[in-house]
């Protein structure tokens, strides 16, 4: 018996939510029939239709945050919508909900959307935020299969996840013939911002084409900032010093000098 098929299970599911916080307690528990109706409405949903129709699903997702049983039942039902011929907007809505309550279980179906021009963006939106390492793996695995803007998007998502395991995959793209791909990989490594990413970026400074210099400098500055925040002052200073030379544009030198000042003012 599914929770949304009976009111009893739903009431049980929302009880801990009531205990966990006044705000959640103030929300009435989602009504099972209303949730069913909302899933029906989702089949023909687009952003022009009344948003209130889907509110029971929103409420259920909120309640699922503090109830594992509810989450386990709601997630596959949402993921199942992604396998149907539901509208783009309906799948968009589902990805937004899976971003909130998705687990490794939703990763395969989301990963399938990465190569889809219409849905790749929202699938990444969910995969960027699902904490399971499987989400990062799925993004990494998709890299060789993609090209153009879809690939750039996935590279960006790996950066957003700051996934240390993806550094070597991203580093291999630094010398990509497509400058946009190489630049995206630089930015993603900058966002990752660990020592390995710093080494990968520093290693390509001499061979990088002029076209990617701005992205590389920016990535190095971001990396240095992240290293400094993580207490790796010496590594950060080394990067800032490397960017302070007369060969660098003035804006970069100013940023690097500012970084050095911040580093100097920071205790080890």
């Amino acid at each position: 018996m599914m929770w949304y098929q009976t009111g009893t299970c739903l009431a049980m599911a929302t009880a801990p939510a009531a205990l966990s916080g006044a705000a959640l307690a103030a929300d009435p528990p989602p009504d099972a029939a209303a949730v069913n109706k909302a899933f029906e409405a989702l089949k023909s949903f687009d952003w022009g239709t009344d948003q209130k129709l889907l509110k029971p699903i929103d409420d259920a997702v909120m309640a699922a945050h503090s109830n594992a049983a509810l989450q386990r039942e709601l997630e596959p039902r949402l993921a199942a919508v992604l396998k149907t011929g539901a509208s783009r907007d309906a799948k968009d809505f589902v990805c937004r909900k899976l971003m909130l309550i998705g687990t490794a279980a939703s990763v395969p179906v989301l990963a399938e959307l990465l190569a889809d021009n219409d849905h790749s963006h929202m699938a990444r939106y969910a995969l960027e935020r699902i904490p399971a390492p499987e989400a990062a793996s799925a993004l990494r695995d998709a890299l060789p299969k993609l090209s153009g803007s879809l690939k750039i998007g996935v590279i960006g998502s790996l950066g957003v996840r700051r996934d240390a395991a993806s550094v070597s995959a991203l580093a291999s793209l630094l010398s990509d013939a497509d400058a946009k791909i190489a630049s995206a990989a630089m930015c993603a490594l900058g966002d990752t911002g660990n020592s390995e990413a710093a080494r990968a970026l520093s290693a390509c400074t001499k061979k990088a084409s002029k076209e990617v210099h701005p992205a590389l400098a920016d990535a190095l500055l971001v990396t240095a900032e992240r290293l400094l925040a993580d207490g790796k002052k010496a590594e950060a200073i080394a990067i800032y010093k490397s960017l302070g030379g007369e060969d660098q544009p003035k804006l970069i030198r100013l940023a690097a000098t500012h970084g050095l000042l911040v580093a100097a003012g920071k205790k080890e």
Partner: protein, 456 residues
Amino acid sequence: MKQGDLNRLAVFCLTVCLAIGGVAVAADASSDDLVPMVVNLLLDKDRDMRALGLQQVREAAKGPAATRRFVALLPKLPPDGQAALLDALATRGDTTARPAVLEMLHSRQEAVRAAAVRALGALGNAADVPLLVRTLDAAGSEKAAARTSLVQLMGPDVTAALVGQMKHSPAETKVKLLAVLGARRARDTIPAILKAALDDDADVRTAAMRVLGQLAKPKHIPAMLKGLLKARPGPERDWAEKAVMFVCKRIPQASQRARPLLEAWKGLNAADQVSVLPTLGRVGGPASLKIVAEAIADKDPRHHAAGVAAICYWPDASVAPQLIALARSEPDAPRRLLALRALIRVAALPDGRSNAQRLVLLKKAMSMATGDDDRNYVIKRANAIRSIETLRFVAPYLGQPAFAQQACATVVELAHHRELREPNQAEFHRALDVVIRTSKDPGVVDRAKRYQRGQT
């Protein structure tokens, strides 16, 4: 050891620990590397690099030791660098820099001296007041900087020092110091300001009354009336009356606003009571109206004139019947005109009456107006009554050359209010078409065109 002793020991230990910690933090406030880097940047040839250093002076590299290093650079910098560093030191707020700032006041460069004066506002103390007061009479940018610094200067003795300076300053300086006290909201100096309101110099009295208008409380009104009575008729008296009115208007309950003034008024001799009548009129209220009405009815021409002046200053339209009567039957022509103009003014005031009531009174004033200036004044005041009926009242004047320009301005002002314009789009469009054809003011024409396009 007793429990009390143990507690005292614990408090002592905690205090010592905190003190040691505080010293450690102060000494270690900036790392060893940072200050030399900032010093190098401040000496850099590149302006943007220097800006980075100045940012650090303002926000980072804390502690008096660092401040001393930065201050030591001042003599080595070019004038623009000195001024920039002085500004940064002011923002840094470490008073360790004060002696060096005082040194820079002797610079040959005006920009540097002005920056030093500005910096004193943040870093100085009461001892700097005489110097800053002297600088109020300097030329150029130092003068403005001194005024700003006197307003900004912190410390418990600063306002007392300012009042002390006022005692033996020339009138021109006293006026400036009074403005400084006003800007500082120095309520503790109100007794000194009240004294200045009785000064022999009219400018000092006016400045004092202006500041009292901002700072004084109802309890100061009796003393303020002394200043008001000393004020010469004309602009000085106007300012004094307004100052008393501002104090009364700050009383939250409308029904109580005239009370302190009336109480003070009762304590005056008969001649002074007549002089204060216009002020009663500015504050308004039923109790004041009774006194003013009696004065208007008085056969003594001085009382009558003061009563008419008082009612013409009234802050709302409750006196409209009296103003209509005066505008019709006052024997003195200038006072008749004064009453009519007051009627036009109060008719449109937003004092709780409906738009319809306000417009009816304004139309009444229009029917009583005898000159084109007064009619144009009516059309001008109509812009305060935001209703479609007002547009219908004003629109016919668009076609009359003597009133067309003022009518254009009023129509555009009414059209400015979207909530009025949009539900009555067709009527406004017709009126704005005429405005665009008629107005000689490019600003009015531009606004009319924009409102026709639905813009703001």
